[in-house]
C-alpha cells in the first residue's frame, strides 16, 4: 500500500487530495506515517520507526496503525502496490 503520487502532504500535516478536492489534517505522528508511506517504506519499517520514536507499545500501535490505514483507504488516499 502506498500514498497516491499526487496526494500532497504539508509539513504541518495538511493532506490535499487533488482528485477529489478533499483536505484533511493529521497530527505529527500521522504526518510522519504518511510521509514514510510516500517514501515507499514498508509497514514493518514504519511500525518499527514509530514505536521507537513515540515509545508506544507494539501491539497497541499495530492495531491503531491498521485503523489508520483503513481510514486512508476509505478516503481514497492510498493505492495498492
Amino acid at each position: 500500500m502506498r500514498i497516491k503520487n499526487n496526494v500532497a502532504v504539508s509539513a504541518s500535516g495538511l493532506i490535499f487530495n487533488p482528485d477529489t478536492g478533499e483536505s484533511f489534517t493529521v497530527n505529527p505522528m500521522g504526518a510522519m506515517i504518511i510521509n514514510e508511506l510516500k517514501e515507499g517504506k514498508s509497514q514493518e519499517e514504519i511500525i518499527a520507526t514509530t514505536i521507537e520514536k513515540y515509545f508506544v507499545e507494539k501491539n497497541t500501535f499495530e492495531k491503531d496503525f491498521e485503523d489508520f490505514l483503513g481510514l486512508l483507504h476509505n478516503f481514497s488516499l492510498v493505492e495498492n502496490d
Partner: protein, 349 residues
C-alpha cells in the same frame, strides 16, 4: 512594447449578491486579458445591482429591459447603447436572457456586436426540463427527473419517486422536499416566481462538484476547470471551492462537448454519490459566478470567449493549476445617493 487593442465589451449579470450573477467575475477575467484592453459596459436590470457601482471594473452602466419585455424592447435598448458606446462584444450571463439574445444573434452581428452563444437547439436540449432525454441521448448518467405543470400531478409524484426529492424552478432555485406538504409549498413558491414547469428530481446523496469550460461549437474542449464546492450557502451556492484534477470529470466534459458541439461558456453541475459515480444534475448555458477561479487556475475563459466571438482561432488550454481555491466575500460599498438617483432616473451611470 506594442499597445494592446482596445475592445468595448458589454456584460450583464452585475448582481453580485448572495446568489450572485457571474458578471463581476467575468469582468475581472476580461480586465486581466493578455490579448486586449477593454472598456466595460455594464448592463443591469435593477438600479441596485452592485456591479453598476464598481467603477474600477465597470466603465459605464445602463439599465436594460427584462427578458420578459420581449426581443423588440431589448433590441431597441441595445441599439441605443450601441450608438453611444460602439459595443464590440456582448456577453449575456443569465439563463433567462439567453433565449432573446440567441434570437437576436444575427441582428446584433449585423450591427457589429459579436456574441458567442449556444444555438437555440443546444440551449433547449440541455434545459433541465429535458435533462432525462439529454442523459439518454448522450449516455450521461442523470438523476431521474420529471416536469410538472400543475400541483395536482406533482403531488402524485410518489408513484415515480421516493422522498426526499428536489423541487426545481425552470431557471433558478431548488429545494429539497421530504413530504407532500413540502412539495406543495415549494411548488407554489417556485411557480409564483418562475412559472411552470416545475421539475421534480431524484435526490442524489453525495458531494457537489462543478466543471466550467468553453466549447468552440465544433466539438472541441477549449477550456475546462473541475471544482469541488467546499463551502455551500443556504441557497446552495458555492462560497468556497478548489480546483481539482479528477480525470473522469474532464472526460465527461469532453464527452458533453464533442457530442453536443456546444458553443460558448457553460457549467456542469455534478453530484458524486457514495459509489463514486458522477451524476449530471444540470447544465448551465453560461459561465458561472465562480468563473474567476478558472482565471486564477490559468484558463482565462472570459478572454478566450471574447476571442472566439471575434472569430479568432484559439488554442485549447491543456493545463491548469490544481489546488487553487476561491473564497467569496461580501463587501459593503459606500455610494452617493446621486449615483443611485442617476441610474434610477436616467437608466445610465
Amino acid at each position: 512594447m506594442t499597445e494592446k487593442r482596445k475592445l468595448t465589451i458589454a456584460v450583464t449579470g452585475l448582481n453580485a449578491i448572495d446568489s450572485p450573477g457571474p458578471g463581476v467575475a467575468v469582468i475581472r477575467g476580461l480586465k486581466e486579458a493578455q490579448s486586449f484592453d477593454c472598456r466595460i459596459i455594464g448592463l443591469g436590470y435593477e438600479s441596485l445591482e452592485p456591479g453598476i457601482f464598481m467603477h474600477d471594473l465597470v466603465d459605464k452602466s445602463y439599465l436594460i429591459p427584462y427578458p420578459s419585455s420581449g426581443t423588440d424592447a431589448i433590441l431597441e435598448r441595445i441599439e441605443f447603447i450601441h450608438n453611444n458606446e460602439k459595443i464590440d462584444v456582448l456577453i449575456p450571463n443569465f439563463d433567462a436572457e439567453l433565449y432573446p439574445f440567441i434570437r437576436l444573434e444575427k441582428t446584433l452581428a449585423d450591427m457589429g456586436i459579436h456574441t458567442f452563444l449556444p444555438t437555440l437547439a443546444q440551449f433547449e436540449e440541455r434545459h433541465k426540463v429535458n435533462l432525462d432525454e439529454f442523459g439518454k441521448k448522450y449516455g450521461i448518467k442523470v438523476p431521474k427527473s420529471k416536469s410538472y405543470h400543475d400541483l395536482h400531478s406533482a403531488l402524485k409524484l410518489s408513484h415515480d419517486f421516493e422522498y426526499p426529492v428536489l423541487v426545481k424552478g425552470k431557471f433558478y432555485e431548488a429545494y429539497v422536499a421530504y413530504n407532500d406538504e413540502q412539495v406543495k409549498t415549494y411548488f407554489n413558491k417556485i411557480t409564483a416566481k418562475w412559472g411552470t414547469p416545475v421539475i421534480i428530481q431524484e435526490f442524489v446523496h453525495g458531494s457537489e462538484f462543478n466543471v466550467t469550460g468553453l466549447g468552440d461549437g465544433k466539438g472541441n474542449t477549449i477550456a475546462a476547470i473541475p471544482m469541488r464546492k467546499q463551502y455551500i450557502t443556504d441557497k446552495g451556492k458555492a462560497w468556497g471551492g478548489v480546483s481539482i484534477s479528477d480525470y473522469r470529470m474532464l472526460e465527461l466534459t469532453g464527452q458533453f462537448l464533442s457530442q453536443t458541439k456546444w458553443r460558448g461558456g457553460f457549467e456542469l453541475e455534478l453530484m458524486k454519490d457514495k459509489q463514486n459515480e458522477f451524476y449530471l444534475l444540470e447544465i448551465n448555458p453560461r459561465m458561472p459566478a465562480w468563473i474567476y477561479l478558472a482565471v486564477g487556475a490559468g484558463q482565462n475563459i472570459p478572454e478566450t470567449l471574447v476571442r472566439l466571438a471575434l472569430g479568432e482561432e484559439v488554442k485549447p488550454f491543456t493545463e491548469y493549476k490544481v489546488g487553487k481555491m476561491f473564497v467569496r466575500y461580501a463587501w459593503d460599498m459606500i455610494v452617493d445617493i446621486e449615483e443611485f438617483q442617476q441610474i434610477s432616473t436616467t437608466g445610465e451611470l
